[in-house]
Symmetry: D2
């Protein structure tokens, strides 16, 4: 699957004593590079003021040794960013660094607000101006606005009250590092201990690279305020249920990360096994679509006893290239990226495992390629349930029009991708494999029901009748006995 | 002289019909490149919305053919920028492009506000935030704020009321082009007619390059509002006197520009002649410090009858280079840039003409170089009066501490630079050469008395006693019979 | 293992009719990018003359769409190159393009001559000059020299007579494409059919990417001469035995390539299984050092029945980075590249599979990292026999001093890398896994006996007594009943 | 005039003791940047071997501080290069660095061989190969070939015997620096003393920048061999007459250089004066085409008494730009580069002074521009005689077809460029202004008679009858009483 994701990675560090925060942030961003390759940025506080360095490009392109040495400071934040076309501008790079009455503030954000347009309008109506297109600038305005009236903690609580959507935030207010995770815990964020201080990051691999120790996940609705290498925690907001994004496990996060208590690698291995149970098939070999399908395929092979053998090979050096226009252009594009290992697949029945199907076009081309190489049968097994609805909360998959499963039943998708059989993981199987209760997961893209109000979409926060769901989802939900569709999520402000 | 200037060039175009505004702006910026080599930017309105392209670098580096072709639009603004270290960030590039309740606005600014810090504080106190360090963002906030309450014209009048300092502004409010020149006319701005439309620019050379016709200078305090290739003019504010910057003539502007009615080349030629009258000397040849001293030296030669002959040659390809540390490092630095033409200066008495003396260090090194090449006598003649006070209005010369003439009388400077004699142009001679009345010029750097209130400095707007001036300036002023030191400048809002 | 290899990839195409040879070469080089990331080059013949475009960098960096469109031609050659420091100069980029009495010639070379120094000296003694440090220039001189006296075929035969070492060559002599593989077949080269023509390449993946069909390997000592999309083959030289490089299978080639009849993936899978048979161990999981150890580990798991589970994760975005000096610098360097999946390895006995051990330092650091993460036991299994001698024929592993197995027995290496047990693949097991007779493989780095004369080294071409070998190798050879150590390889010129 | 020149600058240094030759070469190349902006290179000998660093780009782009610090050595050579399209390849960059039987050799060349094609063919017939298209590789082959049979001095003498054309060479043979100037002295080369050593360079400005002292010009046919900071001179070849290029004075060299005893600035000043005597005219002002016409115009003004005043201004920042296709494209191209100072030229009669006219198209456009700005009369005065024949010796002006004066008499050119009158400098006036006897100058482009044999052209080395010349040249030559057309130049080898 080629998700067109709009995702980010964030990190924050706080040291007890004078230390090279920038170098620590640099290494941590390096570990989070998979969360965004478009731009990178670091802000540090040097005891006097904030310094920001950010630019378009990957982490090693944006910072050189001299830059990092110059960025003195014992506390700081960092950001890597991916975005869809249009947002790819230097103005939208993060951290966003602003000056205000309440001091100098830098913010890095992972997530997506669903009410940013409304908030912008409201703020513009007050006479405010926007220099970028990012949610982050909206957050900055709101935070500064609340800080006019409230102390830091209350201002953050007000901020949380206003933001709808997903957000894991690291914020510097002068030399204070503040970490905020949205009340539904949609985007991940964890806390670790490193020599002389603490680190917070989107994924635990950023702690590993620093030779640190993962303490725990930041709780949904929790706020940490770091100062001089120690921190205080406030559970400012308490939600009855959470809404952890399932695609972090399925696709986005690194397999060696532990997210909300679950090792991603293990989740994927279990999904592969579950998939084998749910959609058994007689075949000669199990083969992944590399790289994202590999762990699933190994799990499938283990459970099914069918030999694991690679039938497709990925070009490790695939980079920016160009395709000359022509009749077989699309085929060439796939072939530049993937090659069949003909002797491994010729004349064989193959279980082909991929993480997900979005438009179905890539799957179709891969299967065509395999058939050309003489594969007898291709049984597609997909490590996620059908994606029937767009994501509004930080993973820019596609529009509803583009999503093949939004318009076709499984048999229809099977025909589109030209597979001999097609089996999707069930929602129930997904939930079981992840190991987190259904009611604490965001499965908006799989059910069309979202944990927050999105104009034109159904929301789990209001009472939904079972009959409002699509038939296949209805069946799934019935089997889950989920409370989600009949009981709204309540977010409760603890403090005020 | 190597002025560390903080200067910009601005341009705006408005066409009657669909036209390639971006290409026109590109050429115009090309003609204004001398006003700023650090960054360049263009904003156009395509009939629907504003598009901005800007980056660090010279005009041809920032824009390629494809960029310009893509920037469709019939109205637009452009900017080139130079700044001192620290300000050299992408965030500070212009035009500044913001969205607001009143629409999308883009602003390009040439000048320097002296109350920007106060305005920022005031705006921050209202809860506003700043993403850059530029005056332009301050102006954007103020304009949007006034547009909440007033129509465009009144909002601009309010804006002018709040801004203290120099500013020539081109502004797009959606598809309207607005041009504003400060009430004192400190920075230049002129209006020209081109095929199918109009152009406004910092200097008339931008009109020439477009094969256009210079109509006139924008009046101080005048506002032009362009729409569909026509414009309306409003004299929103009327000042009794103006304060045109004399250093635009002496150093900054291109010689082929006509500024406030005077051709810069002619001003320089007259200055050279005046200098010869004021400080005659018996010598073998007149020689300029290239390139800025050339026209002065030709004028001096013409008046004095002393042969013009170049004694110093400039390396045309001087670019970014490095100097290895060592004992003669500074000498090497000068030699990389300038070479003596030994046969032209050996054994001769030379009148050396330069535009100005700031710190005196470069002059000293040049004269040392000439003496090493066997020059018998060096009579330094300077095309400006002594610079005794910093500029706060757009030409970042140096601090008062660095200005050699702020601390030493002419004889003292003569000793510092190791000249056989030293003659500065008088203020009276300067005024006469420019051809604009003394009371309409800004000579703050030459007298220490500024046309606007600057904390810690004297201001021509309040009544000054002659005795408050330094002795040499006092003498000059007495001879001028100026009203400036005893009658305040009044700025009168015409509309409200 | 991080082999410091000095390797290249070559490709040649010949079309029947006017066609875009450059685009075909571009895609083919893209598939061979793993064979060299330092420079890339293409030469085509446009019907009149040769055109070469080459530069430092990866394939997509060196060529853009416009370049490829401009490089018209129906026949051409291409090259990608890696080299050790010092050789990294633009002068050494290939194809080498020379003009001579016999026409314009372009040459691209994969391999390493062991007598290039002698040949250079000989050619210099004749008054010739060298502009680069590459073997390719030596080959160009020799070819042009022979073409003075002989026709093309005889000249090539003379050339082959002079060259000692490994070489797979693609050569353009004006519009003729000539392909030469050395008589021992050390470096791979294969032939494929594509639409309207033929392609030759270092690996069959280059044929796959073009949607072509692999016809066969070029035989050792064979020469193909292409003209107008057809070719003639000459077996100019015939060697009794071959010497295919085993490290192409173990490390260098892509798993989806078929080299000398054997699919690399299958060889690796068989090696993993053989390794499990040769060095069985009781453990909880089998884990690879990614990426090179993965296929071996899967084979090991399959044979042994021990669960495959990844214990180490590679950062996919590892690029040029810097490490700040400090005490744990080396550890940081490993951690930037590899992360342990702690939950997968904590408290477990692990079979760790890697492709080879060169210096032993990386293995040591990886095992230390695993122990820090709580691994109970690490049983290292290595997919190659001990490397006891350097490679002179195209894979720049290390010097003999650096090779840990050149100085230590298995127990000694086990101690160095801090493993609980260490098992190397046997030579016999390697040969069996590859599926090519021992006497047709080059195992110089594993036995210290080379297929060609190398000063100071033993050579299989002369009679060797068994007693001349090291004890462990002696044992291996005895078990193989190989003829190689008692019967010299004979290379026989077939034509003259 | 925009000469499409194919020119270079060379420099060599030799220090007595360990010194930073590379830094010295870097500064010297900086001073010679005007002789070539396309590529730059430095070779130094570090006591053991030669190191070369070269690349496309200007001097500060090719070398950074670290490069220069790494290039240790006490002797070395440098090169800057301009070339016409086609030759613009990295392979053609200099110094050319080759290894040979006689040691490692590096060569940098300024000039153009007229028999390089013949020499290449001859060398190719001997079985030699060429990797570049440069004359320099031909010279390298010849030198190495002669060194097979002769000692260094004799080899150089043989080399000189074979080379026909212009060449100023700096050569490193291991740690020996050798400097060669062709027997006719066509291209300049001079010798200077610097601290601890010596420098040779194309122009004396390279000595000035190093704070050195010009000793003398290298004599035509002279060879200097430097070793350990001292040198020996050999007048290996003696020509009766020389052939110094007049265009070095007219256009190419820097005005502050002293070439063959004459200061270029003074030559230009005298030319301006002579031009005024030869073609007096009644006019309001004298105005140059900047920059190349400035010194001439000042000389013209001085002699004629007509006021000097600039009527055209050059954009100092003219760089790589693009012009959009359209009707007034060419006009725009001129306007981007040059602007009229309308008030200075409106309604006036103007003497416009340029250095030369090649195709006439640029002159035409400039004059049209001036007329558009209201100039009453334009009297063109040109600082060179009519260019009627191409240059084969290092200044790539244009082909004969393109040269307007090759096909039209003065009146015809006057019409083409739309001038009110046109006056060219006479050959006699040029010779007198330069101050070197006619018989020691190369005026091939002005007479069609060249100092060396060029196929299809007339040569001063053989007896020419006066009647063989074009009429205007005939007249000139008659007045000069030159021996050149009736007595051949003899080059006499002194040594053997």
């Amino acid at each position: 699957m080629t998700l067109l994701h709009e995702e980010c990675g964030v990190v924050g560090v706080s040291f007890k004593e004078e230390s090279q925060a920038a170098l620590t942030l640099y290494y941590a961003l390096y570990a989070l590079q998979h969360r965004g390759q478009e731009s990178a940025g670091i802000t540090v506080h040097d005891g006097m003021q904030l310094w920001t360095l950010k630019d378009m490009g990957m982490v090693p392109d944006v910072f050189n040794r001299r830059d990092i040495q110059r960025l003195k400071g014992h506390t700081g934040i960092g950001h890597v960013r991916y975005s869809t076309t249009g947002g790819s501008k230097i103005e939208n790079c993060q951290p966003l660094h602003v000056s205000s009455k309440s001091g100098t503030i830098a913010i890095a954000h992972n997530g997506n607000l669903v009410n940013s347009k409304e908030l912008r309008c409201e703020l513009e109506r007050e006479g405010r101006i926007f220099l970028s297109e990012s949610d982050t600038e909206v957050i900055a305005h709101l935070l500064v606005k609340e800080l006019m009236h409230y102390d830091l903690e209350d201002a953050i609580q007000e901020l949380i009250r206003r933001l709808i959507g997903s957000y894991s935030l690291v914020v510097l207010v002068d030399d204070k590092l503040i970490v905020i995770r949205d009340p539904l815990g949609i985007k991940p964020m964890c806390l670790g201990r490193i020599e002389n201080g603490f680190v917070v990051a989107s994924e635990s691999v950023a702690i590993d690279i620093l030779n640190g120790e993962l303490i725990r996940d930041i709780a949904p609705g929790e706020v940490l305020i770091f100062s001089n290498g120690t921190y205080e925690s406030r559970q400012l907001v308490k939600s009855k249920n959470y809404a952890h994004c399932v695609f972090e496990y399925i696709y986005f996060a690194r397999p060696d990360s532990i997210i909300d208590g679950e090792l991603v690698y293990n989740v994927r291995m279990r999904i592969g096994q579950t998939l084998s149970e749910e959609h058994p098939v007689k075949a000669d070999i199990v083969s992944p679509v590399p790289d994202s399908g590999i762990t699933y395929a190994i799990g499938f092979s283990k459970k099914s006893g069918i030999d694991y053998m690679e039938g497709l090979m990925k070009n490790r050096y695939i980079g920016r290239t160009f395709i000359m226009p022509g009749q077989d252009m699309r085929e060439t594009a796939v072939r530049l990226k993937l090659n069949t290992i003909k002797p491994n697949i010729e004349g064989k029945s193959i279980v082909l495992v991929d993480d997900s199907i979005v438009r179905g076009t890539t799957s179709r081309r891969i299967i065509d390629l395999m058939r050309k190489s003489g594969t007898k049968e291709v049984h597609m097994r997909v490590a996620s349930p059908p994606i029937i609805s767009p994501c509004y909360l930080g993973i820019d998959m596609a529009t509803r029009e583009e999503l093949v499963a939004a318009h076709k039943a499984v048999k229809g998708v099977e025909a589109v991708i030209n597979a001999d059989s097609l089996g999707y993981l069930s929602i129930e199987g997904l939930v079981r494999s992840i190991g987190i209760p259904y009611d604490d997961l965001c499965v908006g893209c799989l059910t069309g029901v979202y944990p927050v109000e999105i104009p034109g979409e159904r929301c789990a926060k209001r009472q939904l009748k079972l009959s409002e769901f699509d038939e296949p989802v209805k069946k799934e939900l019935r089997s889950l006995g989920s409370s989600k569709f009949n009981e709204p999520i309540k977010i409760e402000n603890l403090k005020r």
